[in-house]
């Protein structure tokens, strides 16, 4: 499995779980389906971007950092939209979003084919 597909699949799976956890927040439980779909889509986009980065840059710290950044950025985009009650759930959305990005960033650096070969030492 290449790094982009690996990121896409893992990001999508984590996105589904991320969305499902909204069930534990009674205020948004009625919008669960929309949240799951949106969260999965967000996870897929994050996974593809992080996988693409992993193909270009062969560095675990940079991959993890990029994953965290992408996860936080996309989650910020979602959190910036107010809920039906007009509230913003920045921490509740951005923290798990960052976590998804971090995990996908780690996974795509460590696994998946199609990355750059390490440069030969001279």
């Amino acid at each position: 499995m290449n790094k982009i597909v690996y990121g896409l699949v893992l990001g999508g799976i984590l996105g589904i779980f991320d969305g499902l956890t909204a069930w534990f927040t009674p205020a948004v439980r009625s919008q669960l389906l929309g949240i799951v779909v949106g969260s999965t889509f967000k996870g897929i986009i994050a996974g593809v971007l992080i996988g693409f980065f992993a193909r270009k840059v062969n560095s675990l710290p940079l991959g993890v950092l990029f994953g965290l950044g992408i996860g936080l950025l996309l989650a910020f985009g979602v959190a910036a939209m107010p809920s039906a009650t007009g509230e913003h759930y920045y921490l509740q959305i951005m923290l798990p979003g960052g976590l998804v990005g971090l995990i996908v960033g780690y996974a795509t650096q460590k696994y998946g084919s199609g990355g750059l070969a390490p440069s030969p030492r001279t």
């Binding site: 984590l14 976590l99 995990i103």
Partner: protein, 324 residues
């Protein structure tokens, strides 16, 4: 009168035991081994200035049959140009009439000795795949090895895998005429005629030769006899491996089936089943029930499962924290 010292006498004895290579381009460095009909020496090729392994007939051979067999081995090797098969460089006849051939001098270790240090099953199986590749190539060229065993596999310092000792190989079919003469450029003519092994002759190594080979059924031997030997090598490579290698054990059992028809039809198919195991895919020799399928799937996607579980645990911690 001065007597020679014991040391000098032993050195003279050793020197007199070496074959006389006068008139050839080779100079003996040391004896490195012996086979069924010949001794193998490390020699220096004076023209190309490189080291070669020189195999020379060292048994009495009044009928000339052994010489024919040795040359036949050289001809077979010459036909098998493959990275997994030791290349032959030259063949000829010494001034005393004995035949020889030279091949690449392989610096490495025999599989049976090296395997102690190769702990990971996946590494051992990758070596095995390369043995299968070389044997499949030989089969495609109509050659049966008939003596495949760990002692006849060399692993070079850069991980190259070489199948050695084709001395009792059988020619199944002949795309080129091996019966014609060759190698007459400035040397004694070296000809090779086809040697037929009589029915009932048992050639091979117990434990590694197929049952039909052990029964001396020379005429009916085909590629599946080598498949049996490959299965025995695979079983040898499995020594000390974890119980999770059950599919590989099943592959070895299938390759070593008593009935040749129940074995893999080719060395390529055997190698492909090993590749499937290495890729976490089901192997043809090991039917799986649902639990085994789940276990294999879990093993294949172990990391992804661990990452998802890690995420779920961290997410649960966050949920508890947000609810406080």
């Amino acid at each position: 009168m001065n007597w020679l010292s014991d040391d000098a006498v032993s050195r003279l004895q050793a020197a007199s035991a070496l074959p006389d290579l006068a008139g050839t381009r080779y100079r003996i460095i040391q004896r490195i081994g012996s086979g069924g009909m010949g001794a193998v020496y490390l020699a220096e090729d004076a023209v190309l200035e490189r080291r070669v392994a020189l195999k020379i007939l060292d048994l009495p051979d009044a009928s000339g049959e052994l010489a024919t067999r040795l040359l036949r081995e050289a001809h077979i090797l010459a036909r098998l140009e493959h990275p997994g098969i030791v290349p032959v460089h030259d063949a000829g006849r010494l001034s005393d009439g004995r035949v020889f051939y030279t091949m690449k001098s392989v610096e490495g270790q025999r599989l049976d000795l090296l395997i102690v240090s190769v702990g990971a099953l996946s590494d051992r199986l990758r070596v095995f795949q390369r043995i299968c590749d070389a044997v499949a190539f030989a089969h495609a060229r109509g050659i049966l090895h008939r003596d495949l065993k760990p002692d006849n596999i060399m692993i070079g310092p850069f991980g190259e895998v070489l199948v050695m000792d084709w001395g009792i190989a059988k020619i199944l079919h002949q795309p080129v005429d091996l019966a014609r003469g060759s190698g007459e450029e400035g040397r004694a003519a070296v000809t090779c005629t086809v040697v037929k092994t009589e029915h009932g002759t048992i050639l091979g190594t117990p434990g590694y030769m197929a049952p039909e080979q052990a029964r001396g059924e020379v005429e009916s031997l085909d590629e599946r006899a080598d498949i049996y030997s490959l299965g025995a090598i695979l079983q040898f490579l499995l020594i000390g491996s974890a119980p999770t290698a059950r599919p590989v054990a099943a592959i070895a059992r299938k390759a070593m089936a008593e009935d040749p028809a129940s074995r893999y039809a080719s060395a390529s198919q055997l190698g492909e089943d090993i590749a499937r195991f290495l890729d976490g895919l089901p192997v043809t020799a090991y039917p799986e029930n649902i639990f085994l399928k789940i276990a294999r799937w879990g093993s294949r996607y172990q990391l992804a499962i661990v990452l998802v579980l890690t995420y779920l645990v961290l997410r649960a911690i966050l949920l508890v924290w947000f609810r406080r």
